[in-house]
Subunit: 307 residues, 2 copies
C-alpha cells in the first residue's frame, strides 16, 4: 500500500489516490481562470508545523475570494493526516487547494459554482538544498518584470498568479543566477518565486511590509528574531537598501531560512551565510520540536477522523 503512495498521496473528489494519478477537471475555473487559493504546510520529523496557522490563513483567503470550503477545519485535518499516513514519510510538503470549481448550470457566473477542495502530500520540497550549510542562493533583482501590484491581485491571498515570478525565474537563469527577487512599481523589494526575503540593514532585520505574501515562515522568523533580541520588522525596503544589506536571506515553507550569498553576481557580505542568518536558520529548525508549534502526524490511524 505505502509503496504505491511513496511519491505522494492526493485527495481528489473524496478519494485518496497516488499523486501521479491525481487530476482535476480541465474546466475547473481554478485552472482556466486561476480562480483558486492554496496553502502549504510542512511535516517535519513526523509532525505538522503550525498547522492551525496555515489552515486559518487558508480559510480566511477562501473567504476573501468569496469561496465556500466544502470541508471544515477538522475535516481538513483528518484528510491531511490520512495523506501523510498513506505516504508513510516523516518530512512532507502538504498542499491544500480550494478552487472556484466547475459550473453546475452552464452559467459563467462564478457565484453559481460549487467550490472544490483538493489536497496532496509529497516528500518535502527544498527551494534551496541544504546538504551544504555554506550554500546559498545566487539571487538577481529582476530588471525585465515587476511584481503584480496589490490593487490587481492581492498577494496576501496565496495564489497561482506566477506569471511575473516565472518571468523573473527565467531572467535569473539567463543572467547566471538561481533565484529572482522582484521589485514593485515604486522600485521597492517585494518577494521571489515562492519565498519572502529578509535584509539585515544596519542593526535591523527587515522584510517587505507590502506587495508580498505574509508568509508563515516569515512570521516565524520575525518571532524568533525578536526572541533573540534582534530588531526585526516589516518595512519598505528600497532596491538600494537591499543592495547595501550586510545579510540577505529568503524564507519559505519549502526550505525554511535560505541564505542569499550573492546578488547580481556580487557577494552579499562575505559571500557566505552571515551570523544572523545562521542563528535564525538554527532556531527555525529547533522550533520544529517546540510543542507550541507542532502537531504529530497520526501515523497509526487511531484518531477520530471522519474519512
Amino acid at each position: 500500500m505505502i509503496e504505491r503512495f511513496a511519491a505522494g498521496a492526493a485527495y481528489i473528489d473524496g478519494e485518496t489516490v497516488p499523486v501521479g494519478e491525481a487530476r482535476i477537471p480541465i474546466t475547473d475555473l481554478g485552472f482556466s481562470r486561476s480562480d483558486v487559493t492554496y496553502d502549504v504546510v510542512a511535516v517535519w520529523g513526523g509532525a505538522f508545523f503550525r498547522l492551525d496557522d496555515h489552515l486559518q490563513r487558508f480559510e480566511r483567503n477562501c473567504g476573501r475570494l468569496r469561496m465556500t470550503l466544502p470541508v471544515d477545519r477538522d475535516g481538513m485535518k483528518a484528510i491531511l493526516h490520512e495523506l501523510v499516513r498513506r505516504c508513510g514519510i516523516r518530512q512532507s510538503y502538504v498542499d491544500v487547494i480550494c478552487t472556484r470549481g466547475v459550473s453546475r448550470t452552464g452559467s459563467r457566473d462564478p457565484r453559481t459554482f460549487e467550490n472544490r477542495f483538493y489536497a496532496y502530500a509529497i516528500p518535502y520540497v527544498w527551494i534551496l538544498r541544504q546538504d551544504d550549510p555554506g550554500a546559498g542562493m545566487d539571487a538577481v533583482i529582476a530588471k525585465t518584470v515587476r511584481r503584480i501590484p496589490t490593487d490587481s491581485v492581492d498577494p496576501t491571498v496565496k495564489n497561482f498568479h506566477w506569471g511575473d515570478l516565472t518571468r523573473g525565474q527565467f531572467e535569473a537563469y539567463d543572467r547566471g543566477g538561481s533565484h529572482p527577487v522582484l521589485l514593485d512599481y515604486n522600485g521597492n523589494v517585494t518577494e521571489g518565486s515562492g519565498y519572502n526575503v529578509f535584509a539585515m540593514v544596519g542593526d535591523r532585520l527587515l522584510t517587505p511590509e507590502s506587495g508580498t505574501l505574509e508568509g508563515i515562515t516569515r512570521r516565524t522568523v520575525l518571532e524568533l528574531a525578536t526572541a533573540e533580541g534582534i530588531k526585526a520588522e516589516p518595512a519598505t525596503i528600497s532596491e538600494e537598501a537591499f543592495r547595501g544589506a550586510s545579510e540577505l536571506f529568503a524564507t519559505s515553507t519549502a526550505g525554511g531560512v535560505m541564505p542569499i550569498t550573492s546578488l547580481d553576481g556580487r557577494p552579499v557580505g562575505a559571500g557566505r551565510p552571515g551570523p544572523v542568518t545562521t542563528l535564525l536558520r538554527n532556531r527555525y529548525w529547533q522550533a520544529h520540536e517546540d510543542p507550541r508549534y507542532i502537531t504529530p502526524v497520526d501515523y497509526d490511524n487511531t484518531g477520530d477522523r471522519r474519512l
Copy 2:
C-alpha cells in the same frame, strides 16, 4: 458515440474523451503556477473562423513563454477537426492550451519540464446571449481593482491570470451590473473579463492600444469597420473619453460584437445598440460566410489527419 460527446470532447494525453471526464494533473505547472497560454477558436455554421490566425497567435505565445508545443500546426488542426466531429455540433467554442507540464526529474526548474498540449470543443459560449438583438451589457468601470500591468504579465500572451478580472466581475454584480471594464494604473481603459472594448468617440471608433489582449475579434472588427469607411484604430482611451462615447461595445470569440447599453447604471447613447455597433455586429456574422476567413469542419472524417 456522438451522444457521449454531446457536452463536448477533449484531447488529453493523446486520447479523445468526453469533456466532463477531461482532467489534467494537479501537479501540472499550468495549474499550480498558471504557467500556461491558450487560445479560443469559434466554429460557426460548421466552419472554423480564422483558424490559422488563432493557431499562429497561439504558437507565437508558446514561444514567448519559452514553451515547445508537442504538436505542430497540422497536428493541431487534425485534433480540432476530430474534436468538433466527435461532438457533432455546428456551433462550437474550441479551446487549445499549452502548459509548462509536469516535472520529469523532480526539479523545480521550468526549463526541464515537458510542455503539454490539451484541447477541447464544447457548444458555443455566449458572454452575452443574443436572442434579443436589443439586449446589451450593463457594464461598470471597476473601482476596486486595476488591470494587471503589462510589465508584470503580458496581456498579449493570452493567459489565465484572471484574478483582477474576477474581482472586477464580482464588483460588477455588487453594483447591479453584469460586466466589468478595468482601468490601468494611469486611469485608461483596458479590457473586461474575456472581452476587448470599443468606444465611438466623435467620429472615430477606438479600442485600447495597450494593456489588453490583441483579440482576433478585435482585429476583425477593426478590419470590417475600415472596410465600411469608419475611422477605426487602437488608441489610448481615458476613463472620461470612454464615459463620453456615443456607442460602446465589447468583442470576443465567445459572443462576437456585444453592445454595452449601460455604463455604471446610466444609458450609453439612447440605451440601446447604436448604429455603428449594429452595423459591425451584422458584418461580423456575415464574415463567418466569407471564404477568406473560414475553414469547413471535416465532419466526415475524410481528411488526411494523422491521429
